[in-house]
Symmetry: C2
Subunit: 306 residues, 2 copies
């Protein structure tokens, strides 16, 4: 039985690239038949990375079957995984997020969670010397995943180890980290083809904060103007998205990668109150700039107060 | 703040030794202040191991405080941990059991779960070359944990890696694995001082099987006669233990380490039905011998049918 390797819904570069890396390792090094798959259409940056490294786009699956072998990467959150995930035969989990509880396995399996910026960094460590056998595309995917998750080392989630692994991969491949990251971020910034609702759900996670269900959306971009020019229709769309997804409010943070700041859209008094309580800012108008804020995991979620 | 390192309630050798090993590593290698603690009195084998390797008995704690730093080893099951465990600051989890779901962490932390026989084997891998700095007692605790959890390699949970690590440690220490294991199993078999209820709870885990709550108790011994001679009072005590612990039935498997078989006590028709359905045996009388059955994890739990 082929093991399916996948990351979270709404795949970004790490959730697209890491399954490809790990499926290569299982197939070529461990002798375990494995296939990388996606739980949805990859975002524009991930699509660029596939094309750039000449990697075939993994199949998008609609769901999982009871008893099928799966490896979960880049998440341990059942809400970000297909329904019925606990009925599959989970054989490994590799992740860099907090343990949320909810996944269950039938027996003891390999679980590796590390407080690093990127799943691919953990895979680099787990694969070790066998990485020498990897084709260029696998190493390239690894490099791209880490540049993406660290926002080229600007994100406060970045560790010295993520940086060192990136530098080693770039040297091995003979590529410029800055050129690759710039091209990736440009691809991510090209959001013209997406609807407002699609943008709000593109990189979004739900959190219950003091009883209020918040869908916390982040758009990382080198061209914030493209998004902020659409702020009126984005704010109008928030009402429908919140309703459809059972949330009380959508928060949209537009992260300006190059200027290292986030702009939060403020459509109503609830968000104004949340912004002022959480980030100690004063809001006047329908946006507020939060200098230095780059990471949902490290800076937004821990700060949120309702 | 000192990090407390502990295993599960009703500490056996692995849940007593592994916290000592990891606290040594944190203190002496990682420069993190850490203290091994216990969630109860160690069993007789673990007490022997402490004395044999001249290790001080860790303090027994009554509970955990909100926000205190803890490392959890040899379990990921909240039911085997102090109340309020999710309110502590869990900084790492090292375990070799199935993921049961229920533990939550505030941020991404180090989690290492491996399908190996023993937590100490995983620690051997994580510590790597730094183990050369360890005093004799730490290496001795490691060796004892693995001999205990593998029943000197008789348990089907044993992997080639557990065996290889044991052999390397024994060679390094210049001790006989067989002599050490024999002394440990003798210590574990000395159960004369325990009440029937204490014996039933000594190495016991609750499982819900098809709606029936079973407390599945295992006693590993080289002297099964000492326990089976008490079978009438043990069976009488099962009724009270089940009632007090909210279980429907206690199942007691007396594992004969040397003869590699288990004897299940059969106090009533329910257990007779379970035994026959689960192990394909025919029960006549108040015990049944199950040849080759040594492991709750690998052989008993997966087989249980009510």
């Amino acid at each position: 039985m082929t093991t399916k390797v996948f990351g979270h819904k709404a795949p970004d570069t790490d959730s697209t690239g890491s399954p490809i890396i790990w499926a290569w390792y299982l197939n070529e090094v461990k002798g375990v038949a494995a296939e990388p798959v996606l739980l949805g259409e990859p975002n524009t940056e991930a699509a660029f990375v596939l094309k750039h490294w000449d990697l075939p786009k993994p199949a998008i699956i609609e769901g999982v079957a009871e008893g099928e072998k799966v490896v979960i990467v880049d998440t341990n959150n059942p809400a970000e995984l297909p329904e019925g995930i606990n009925k599959t035969d989970i054989t490994a989990i590799i992740d860099h997020h907090k343990l949320v509880g909810g996944l269950e396995t039938k027996g003891p399996i390999d679980i590796t969670i590390r407080p690093l910026a990127c799943t691919a960094t953990i895979m680099y460590d787990l694969i070790g010397g066998d990485l020498a056998k990897a084709p260029r595309g696998i190493k390239g995917a690894m490099l791209s995943c880490i540049l993406s998750d660290t926002l080229e080392f600007r994100s406060p989630t970045t560790t010295a180890h993520d940086k060192a692994v990136c530098a080693a991969l770039a040297a091995d491949l003979g590529v410029s980290m800055n050129e690759l990251a710039t091209a990736m971020f440009e691809a991510k910034s090209d959001v013209s083809s997406f609807s407002d609702a699609a943008l709000l759900r593109m990189d979004s996670k739900e959190y219950n904060v003091d009883g209020t269900e918040l869908r916390v959306s982040v758009l990382e971009t080198t061209a914030p103007k493209l998004i902020l020019d659409r702020k009126d229709s984005l704010m109008a769309s928030m009402v429908d998205v919140a309703k459809e997804d059972g949330a009380d409010q959508v928060l949209l943070f537009v992260v300006d990668i190059l200027n290292e700041e986030a702009t939060l859209l403020v459509p109503n008094d609830l968000v104004k109150k949340i912004a002022e309580a959480s980030f100690g800012c004063t809001v006047s108008g329908d946006t507020v700039v939060l200098p230095g804020v780059m990471s949902r995991k490290k800076q937004i979620i821990p700060a949120l107060k309702v």
